[in-house]
């Protein structure tokens, strides 16, 4: 494991019944970067994240976080991870302050009331300290989930589709918080199926499709390498973007629609990775 690598995934396989969700995935995430896993629903992003979090034992391969093998020492890994799950509700009966207190205790962290308020303030929720989860908007609930992800001052923050279902304003609010996490020196690994989000936030992006890593690079490099030439009409009104890359690499959009574009290199990558 290289010094600047904080997450190292080797030959990861995840299987559900007869479906292979992740196939021999190799991936490294560097310390301090925002790394995006981009792919359609069912691509294997959340399964990969589950293995990193220690929520699921891989069916093959290894996952190491800061030198700890997740399968062998999940508690050591969980201590340094901050986690926001895609489909996780909050206890409806607890207030924002009580939720922070509870989740902090799960990590053996016991913040003072002032520290809890400072954390809520940072996420723009100080006014909602006494509100219960159902009294918060979708965006506020997501910000609270992000605040909870930081209760243990983690080195690595894992965010599973942090902006799904949010309105554009709330999405931008989440983006600002992710950027701040990077400024603080944390590593952020996020999954998303929003191209603009990946392009806006991530230092590097891994595109995953059908459980296979089909490309990995910076957003600009991915576009430069993989985006097909635009038609004259398209070229007149926009620049190539990650969506073009995705279509070229996978042959379909994030909604699963088949594309007419099929990059030979993508097919080659898919069969060799």
């Amino acid at each position: 494991m290289q010094a600047d690598t904080i997450i190292e995934i080797q030959h990861l396989c995840v299987q559900y019944n007869n479906v292979q969700a992740v196939k021999q995935l190799d991936l490294t995430v560097r310390r301090g970067e925002v790394f995006g896993m981009l792919g359609p629903n069912g691509a294997g992003k959340s399964s990969t994240l589950s293995c990193i979090m220690g929520l699921r034992r891989p069916d093959g391969g290894t996952v190491r976080v800061d030198g700890h093998d997740v399968a062998r020492d999940p508690l050591a890994v969980k201590r340094i991870l901050g986690v926001q799950l895609q489909k996780s509700a909050l206890f409806n009966e607890l207030t924002a302050v009580e939720l922070i207190e509870l989740y902090a205790a799960l990590y053996e962290v016991f913040p003072t009331r002032a520290q809890i308020m400072a954390l809520l303030e940072r996420f723009g929720l100080a006014q909602k300290a006494g509100a219960r989860a159902p009294q918060l908007s979708g965006g506020q609930q997501q910000r609270l989930a992000l605040a909870i992800a930081l209760v243990n001052n983690p080195q690595v923050v894992l965010l599973d589709e942090p902006t799904t279902g949010l309105d554009p304003q709330a999405r931008r609010g989440v983006w600002a918080m992710v950027r701040r996490m990077r400024e603080e020196g944390r590593t952020v690994l996020l999954t998303t199926h929003y191209m603009d989000e990946a392009q806006e936030l991530c230092d590097r992006i891994g595109i995953i499709d059908n459980g296979v890593l089909v490309a990995l690079d910076t957003p600009l490099a991915l576009i430069a390498r993989h985006a097909p030439p635009l038609s004259p009409q398209d070229a007149a009104r926009r620049q190539p973007n990650l969506e073009d890359v995705f279509l070229a690499l996978t042959g379909r959009g994030l909604d699963g629609e088949q594309s007419l574009v099929q990059d030979d290199e993508a097919r080659w990558l898919a069969t060799t990775t």
Binding site: Y16, G54, L55, L75, A76, A89, L94, A105, F110
Partner: protein
């Protein structure tokens, strides 16, 4: 220890603020006491005041409902909402979580039992000896632990919250009538009694009633204790074997 206390306090708040749980845990059994008291308040059952006899049944009914329906449904709901998975993502030893949860449920069962007994005593003059009530509460705690474990077993097996509630009710309702809780066991046909005496609610009420009320037990105490122990072990085995942090994919 501090971690256990914070988790315990949080789970206690969650349980005491849940309106549906409050209704079924407090309003419903106390409503039953009021209803039975209105109907049979002045009568005797088996040589003791009807309300004294029935109150023990309501306490056991509440313990049974708490396990078969309350615990089973709550756990499957937490699993369906992804809350269990989020807790699993934290470095919390499973033993701390289970201990805090069990302690909260037992405390709540005790509060509910105390409320039921108090209402029966104050409103309808049900009479229990203090030492008998104290011993009965110890038995109730053990019984509650058994029903919590059986509730966990249902939650572990049920694929969804709806299924969990349906399974819980399918077990709860027949047992309610076949347990000597409200319907004296003597009125059952012999073949049905032969089945009923092996159900956990019957065993629990048969342990508690002789302690709280001056009536003899229907079968040997050691048999009731052993039966409850075996039901508890069955609950642990199923819950441990089939427990899932997230819904089936």
């Amino acid at each position: 220890m501090r971690r256990f206390l914070v988790v315990f306090r949080s789970l206690l708040k969650i349980n005491l603020r849940d309106k549906a749980a409050l209704f079924w845990g407090f309003a419903f059994p106390i409503g039953l006491i009021l209803l039975y008291g209105t109907i049979w308040g002045g009568q005797d059952f088996n040589g003791v005041s009807a309300m004294t006899w029935l109150t023990v049944g309501v306490v056991v009914l509440n313990i049974m409902a708490s396990g078969f329906i309350g615990d089973a449904t709550w756990l499957t709901q937490m699993r369906a909402q992804g809350i269990l998975l989020r807790v699993q993502a934290a470095p919390l030893p499973r033993a701390v979580l289970v201990a805090a949860y069990g302690a909260v449920r037992l405390v709540i069962v005790l509060i509910q039992a105390a409320a039921i007994v108090l209402v029966a005593m104050l409103v309808f003059g049900a009479k229990f000896s203090l030492s008998g009530v104290a011993l009965a509460f110890v038995i109730a705690l053990g019984g509650a632990a058994v029903f919590i474990l059986l509730g966990q077993a249902i939650a572990a097996l049920a694929p969804s919250t709806g299924a969990s509630m349906a399974i819980g009710q399918c077990i709860y309702f027949p047992l309610m009538f076949l347990s000597n809780l409200f319907i004296p066991i003597e009125s059952l046909p012999a073949w049905l009694y032969g089945i009923a005496r092996w159900n956990p609610a019957y065993m629990l009420v048969d342990l508690m009633r002789p302690v709280m009320v001056a009536v003899p037990a229907q079968q040997a105490s050691w048999l009731n204790l052993l039966g409850l122990l075996l039901y508890g072990l069955l609950g642990i085995m199923i819950a441990a074997r089939f427990f899932r942090w997230e819904p089936k994919r």
